[in-house]
Symmetry: D5
Subunit: 112 residues, 10 copies
Amino acid sequence: MQIETFPNPTPGRHYEITHVNHEFTSVCPKTGLPDFGTITITYIPDELCLELKSLKYYFLEYRNKGIFYEAVTNQILDDLVAACKPLEMSVISQWGVRGGMTSTIVATYKRD
Amino acid sequence: MQIETFPNPTPGRHYEITHVNHEFTSVCPKTGLPDFGTITITYIPDELCLELKSLKYYFLEYRNKGIFYEAVTNQILDDLVAACKPLEMSVISQWGVRGGMTSTIVATYKRD
Amino acid sequence: MQIETFPNPTPGRHYEITHVNHEFTSVCPKTGLPDFGTITITYIPDELCLELKSLKYYFLEYRNKGIFYEAVTNQILDDLVAACKPLEMSVISQWGVRGGMTSTIVATYKRD
Amino acid sequence: MQIETFPNPTPGRHYEITHVNHEFTSVCPKTGLPDFGTITITYIPDELCLELKSLKYYFLEYRNKGIFYEAVTNQILDDLVAACKPLEMSVISQWGVRGGMTSTIVATYKRD
Amino acid sequence: MQIETFPNPTPGRHYEITHVNHEFTSVCPKTGLPDFGTITITYIPDELCLELKSLKYYFLEYRNKGIFYEAVTNQILDDLVAACKPLEMSVISQWGVRGGMTSTIVATYKRD
Amino acid sequence: MQIETFPNPTPGRHYEITHVNHEFTSVCPKTGLPDFGTITITYIPDELCLELKSLKYYFLEYRNKGIFYEAVTNQILDDLVAACKPLEMSVISQWGVRGGMTSTIVATYKRD
Amino acid sequence: MQIETFPNPTPGRHYEITHVNHEFTSVCPKTGLPDFGTITITYIPDELCLELKSLKYYFLEYRNKGIFYEAVTNQILDDLVAACKPLEMSVISQWGVRGGMTSTIVATYKRD
Amino acid sequence: MQIETFPNPTPGRHYEITHVNHEFTSVCPKTGLPDFGTITITYIPDELCLELKSLKYYFLEYRNKGIFYEAVTNQILDDLVAACKPLEMSVISQWGVRGGMTSTIVATYKRD
Amino acid sequence: MQIETFPNPTPGRHYEITHVNHEFTSVCPKTGLPDFGTITITYIPDELCLELKSLKYYFLEYRNKGIFYEAVTNQILDDLVAACKPLEMSVISQWGVRGGMTSTIVATYKRD
Amino acid sequence: MQIETFPNPTPGRHYEITHVNHEFTSVCPKTGLPDFGTITITYIPDELCLELKSLKYYFLEYRNKGIFYEAVTNQILDDLVAACKPLEMSVISQWGVRGGMTSTIVATYKRD
């Protein structure tokens, strides 16, 4: 799946973009049962912005994929950094109740 | 459209003014469908304050204009900085659900 | 998929059982995109109660099925009435935002 | 604008469908300023259900139309009853703050 | 102060109109201190609807008037019934904390 | 303590008055520890209304009195009915957490 | 375990008492894992009221007992009706998330 | 109007006092219509504390005064600093909806 | 009244303990009327921890004591610092509505 | 009880993992009565991540153990640090109402 981008309309200004996917779902690789979460992407663009519709389709690819919380969070960060080459980016995943517990994973990228 | 201003009543004091427009709407340039958002303006005035009624009319000009989230946020910041020449200003736009996702854009200006 | 049941522990008393699935998802037959909803089952048991784990697996069968809101609500009602033969049952489905709109469907069964 | 319908998948059962448009906007005929509201449609279908996408486009036609709260509520009820010929329907419009006041209009139809 | 009205756009249908004033204030006749409340007007119009702007000005007349909770609620009901001659009307006043207590008054009119 | 009253300003109309005391406290007769609750009084006046300030002082008399939840609720109902001779009255007491439990008592009077 | 009672202080009046235990826990007989819930008891006393402390100790007896949602709800109703012989009583149990689902059971008793 | 003070009971300790007036109202100098807001005063006392009752009466003086948001916030800060000569003080005014917009003003004082 | 303490179970680690009393009440020395508040104690223990039950009884001593907001907050801080000799401690008191205003006092101690 | 771990999928990146147990219960060593709390674990993994299911079983071991708030919080921190050897970890325990008071304990570990 290709994550599309478009040129940053104000490339000279450092500003922050946040997209929150409230309807993320993947599959637990251990039990085969679905996981439901919220994914929050925050980044400072350099020359490219993430195109929202292709981002939605990118997330859909996880719907039937078996992957752990920690791995999916880092995978999304790697894929989106590769796609839009931002100055900074963070990915936060928040997961529904399992065994009386909720979980949150926060991963961050900053260009050297 | 002219954004009106009035003299800062306490020009010697650095203080902060926030206006939140809960009823902002523009049009998506790709689909032609309306977008709905909340725009939060925060600034430290120098010699001029933004007049509230003309600010409301300024926002109304976007009602039928096709413009992306990232562009509208930076455009409002540029226009309001030009109008009242503040010491600092930020514009935050928060957008309703599209494809299960919400978005927020934060742009900031600080006088050199 | 078999929906399992167990004998009502207090068959002589009319009482009410509610199960709410906060993590229901199916697929829109028109666009192929996923829908996310909450399903609320309320019933007065006669001789059988719905077993919770098999109910969870029953819901999972909709994950990749293309079906409209109105049809899925009535289908669940038909399947669960057939499984546990209750005195009364209602199914309420509440759906996430699509095009700025949320939807709710309520279907009810009462034994003659 | 044509409001589309589709055949009720369970025509023999009396059940209730609700669609809530959280992003309705029209124009005040007196001041020319925009009004923002939430429109809640609830109905019991007979042979036809309202198709969601055409319903969204129907609402968009009010975006630049000057019309009072009381009139828009009754107009929507009339149009939707004509389109899907339900057994019962209600339309509730809830409006944002004007002059420190919020307003709600409730109109109801029941087939004789 | 004249409370203005306009012709009911759908006089043949029994429907319900609610206006909530979130910024009502009057004066306690005993202490001379201001009272703050929320006034909710609900009515079924006959041939006339209450015009919103004149209603706002009507409420402003209480700003510096000394009047008890019970009396102001019944006075508003009497004045608005006289103005628009509805089929039914209720007035609910809800008052801020005084001495650790909040109060609510509900008065109702129904045409014989 | 004398609970004061004043003449009902609209004696011919059946309407409802509610006073909520958010800061009620008495003492548990068993442990000697304080109880904290909210007392809600709702009544339809006949010829007399409860005067708010004397009502506040009436509640203060329970501050250091040892009395059970059930008894204090019924006592307040008896005292206030005796004071203002209403057509109907209810008293609801809601109590803070004790041993992981909260309690609510509802007592009602209706003139024959 | 003995559930204690005390004489109703106002036996001639029909009034309603509610106790909510926010910290109920028992054990799932199938998995051996703990369940957490809220138990709401509402009753109209006849000659006896439930004593709150003994009620707390009664609930503690379920802490390590394996029992289904439906059975525990009906068991509590049976035990408390036997203890205080009320005119009416209802027991509502609300249970934490299991497999993405929450459950509620409502059982009611009314003296013939 | 005299704002009264009393001696700080612990003058040797730097601690923070906050008073929030939830029922502030003044008048818009442009339209003559009332404004409603919440005023939050936070300060570190030196030798004097603000007396609460005289503070309430001080706020009442704005009830019928025409004054802009920015001016009223700075005026309150100037008056209260003059009255109690604190080490630090901030005044935050938050205003109700006007034309779909809410506003907040923050002004701060720190002794040199 | 003796505030009891017990030895810190992990004296080598700097960690933070917070106790919030939601049911604090004292008496206004000016009016003789009761005040209701929430008291939040946060501290980093050194060798002693505050025992919870004796802390509750300590708070009860204020029930009928006339004392100002500012004084009670500083008095609690002084007494608890003396009792458990912490590395750091803060006391926050938040008070119910009086004359439309709520108040909060924050006092802090840090060992030299 | 063995707390299991698995290899960190992205060991080169400093990122944060949070698990919140909403259904923790232990026993008060003084009264023998149960305590109910929420436990929040936050850590930056080095080479190992905590496996969620074994973490759940670890928490279950406290169900019938008598232990003080302060001790349980520090004990969990010690056990989990020993199990996964993180770069940093914090444990927050929040406890239900006892005697009108709630408590929170925060303990933190950072590798030297």
